[in-house]
């Protein structure tokens, strides 16, 4: 196979799946280098954290140097487990389920980045817990699982937008998957309201 930019043999074959769209590129070594083809392996969370926290210009930390001490403006502690955000930065691990709420402001952009823009859970919900809430008509617990009515509507709206975009892009496989997901989520969310 020929390089798509010049006449040399293509030795780098790249497949990019971005937002469900598949694109292939076939390049020779030199054109690939010019194109800045990423050869970065998957970033572990700790690296992601430090590059995100320090900003892209700070560069990698040299291991010998002590890490620059940044005085905390205000130390936020998770009420559930006492973990600080600094402790999370150190280990990449949270202390308890409540940490997600306690640090949600700083955590959300990080999570979005780690999941290629994903910020809302789609997919499975705890089945038995949902059934229980419905049969007991426990609205408070249902909100804990599904979010407020406004949040549920927002989520359906964002799925509808993603679906419309997939259709516009003529990515029919992704559109079909999103349509299934939207149907399922609508049942889930609205089943919650009617009961």
């Amino acid at each position: 196979m020929r390089c798509e930019r010049c006449e040399r043999e293509a030795t780098i074959h790249e497949v990019i799946i971005h937002q469900g769209k598949t694109r292939e590129r076939h390049l020779c070594e030199s054109c690939a280098r010019e194109a800045g083809l990423s050869s970065d392996p998957h970033m572990p969370i700790s690296k992601l954290l430090s590059s995100f926290m320090l900003g892209p210009t700070a560069g990698p930390q040299s291991p010998g140097k002590p890490r620059p001490h940044q005085p905390a403006k205000s130390v936020v502690r998770c009420a559930g487990c006492g973990t600080t955000y600094a402790a999370f930065k150190e280990t990449g691990l949270l202390g308890c389920p409540a940490c997600y709420e306690a640090f949600s402001e700083r955590l959300s952009p990080l999570i979005e980045r780690a999941h290629e823009g994903g910020c809302h859970h789609v997919g499975k919900f705890p089945r038995r817990a949902l059934r229980d809430c419905r049969s007991l008509n426990d609205r408070d617990r249902l909100e804990v699982l599904l979010g407020s009515i406004r949040e549920r509507q927002e989520r359906l709206e964002s799925l509808r937008k993603a679906l419309a975009k997939a259709v516009r892009d003529e990515d029919y496989e992704r559109a079909a998957a999103l349509r299934d997901e939207l149907g399922r989520m609508t049942d889930l969310m609205e089943g919650a309201e009617t009961e």
Partner: protein, 385 residues
């Protein structure tokens, strides 16, 4: 409270005296595993498929901050739930308390891919913890396909592992186990973030789909770098035979998804099972086609020499044996070594690992003795009759 085995297997000669507890691992673990059966879709390239989901119990801190009492309670709750599942005819649940298991038993479980290395050590990725941390693993027998790790990085890590490209079936397995456990326990769940996990990279579905691929064709044609670069750009991670942090030996690679939030289980499955893996399989088959075309004689020579070494070597390191077995496997699936049985090769991939080698020979071996025993085993199983 390990479920009583209705008909305990008889022990081979030279076994240790009968332990008081029913033997957790002493029987059966010498035989092969289902995921190395060499069957299923695309099994010329895909060795096995694995699906893992992470769950945490609501009302308990994550392992990072949990006190010993919390951990013991989580372990007890999960164990009780797991040991009371209805498994169907002919199945039983094996339970292993890892904090009291021997290092050899833990290693065997790692080699069979039933627990992670960190779980064997009782350590978190941060290095915290140690061997006596209360933790366990439950395995559904006899298939040994579905298992649950308790108190790894998350309270529960449920997994299913099968031969060939079978991510959809693996997903159905863990989905079933997830529902069964959830019938009796509440999971930590957030309307926006989904299933909550200790590490934010697992949050959402908590789902990790992976396939173990054999890519010697891409390696030999010099295209592996490109394929793995492509895989990274597809948002996948590629690792060696035994997962995180291990070198790839014998050109076995584990490919898995990296994002878990914003895509449903079904969407993640479709991407990997229907798009990405078939594409990588296609690349590998294409490369093998080239090796069998104008480079047939060289290829035949390479795989035949590998077989020759395995048939005659007196000392073999694990990495070298893996490398040679990988080449022999290539020869067998390409029809260049008709005299070798694929099952034999797959059996050896597991049998040459240190803990299994000790189980097969029935004694504790020093590293030097292992090299010798490993070569003996390869000669015996692959030797000219």
């Amino acid at each position: 409270m390990t479920e009583p085995d209705p008909k305990p297997k008889s022990h081979g000669a030279g076994d240790l005296p009968e332990p008081k507890q029913p033997p957790a691992l002493s029987s059966g673990f010498e035989r092969g595993v289902e995921w190395l059966r060499g069957a299923g879709d695309a099994s010329d390239v895909v060795l096995s498929s694995r699906v893992r989901i992470a769950r945490n119990l609501a009302g308990f801190p994550f392992m990072t901050t949990a006190e010993r009492a919390d951990r013991a309670q989580v372990l007890e709750l999960c164990k009780r739930r797991l040991m009371n599942l209805a498994l169907g005819e002919g199945r039983r649940m094996l339970w292993v308390d890892l904090h009291t298991a021997t290092p050899d038993e833990r290693d065997a479980l790692v080699e069979r891919q039933l627990i992670s290395r960190n779980h064997a050590k009782g350590k978190l990725s941060t290095g915290a913890g140690g061997q006596d941390e209360p933790r366990g693993v439950a395995v559904i027998l006899p298939e040994e396909r579905i298992s649950a790790m308790i108190n790894e990085e998350d309270h529960l890590r449920l997994q299913s592992i099968r031969s060939g490209l079978a991510l959809d079936e693996c997903l159905a397995d863990v989905d079933w186990l997830d529902d069964e456990i959830e019938k009796g326990l509440d999971f930590a769940f957030h309307p926006r973030f989904g299933y909550l996990t200790a590490c934010p990279t697992n949050v959402g579905t908590g789902l990790r789909l992976s396939v173990m691929m054999h890519l010697p064709g891409l390696k030999m044609t010099g295209e592996l770098e490109k394929a793995s670069r492509a895989a990274h750009d597809m948002g996948l991670a590629i690792r060696g035979f035994h997962g995180e942090g291990s070198e790839a030996n014998g050109e076995f690679y584990q490919v898995s998804n990296q994002t878990t939030l914003g895509k449903s289980d079904a969407m993640l499955l479709r991407e990997l099972n229907d798009e990405i893996v078939p594409r990588l399989v296609g690349y590998e088959r294409h490369a093998r086609g080239r090796l069998l075309g104008d480079r047939r004689e060289t290829t035949h020579d390479t795989v035949a020499r590998a077989l020759g070494t395995l048939r005659h070597a007196r000392l073999l390191r694990a990495a070298e044996a893996m490398e040679l077995l990988g080449l022999v496997r290539l020869g067998v699936v390409c029809g260049l070594l008709p005299e070798v049985n694929l099952d034999t090769v797959h059996g050896l991939l597991l049998a040459i690992q240190p803990a299994h080698l000790q189980r097969i020979t029935g004694r504790v071996l020093t590293p030097a003795e292992r090299r010798s025993a490993r070569a003996d085993l390869c000669r015996a199983r692959l030797g000219l009759r």
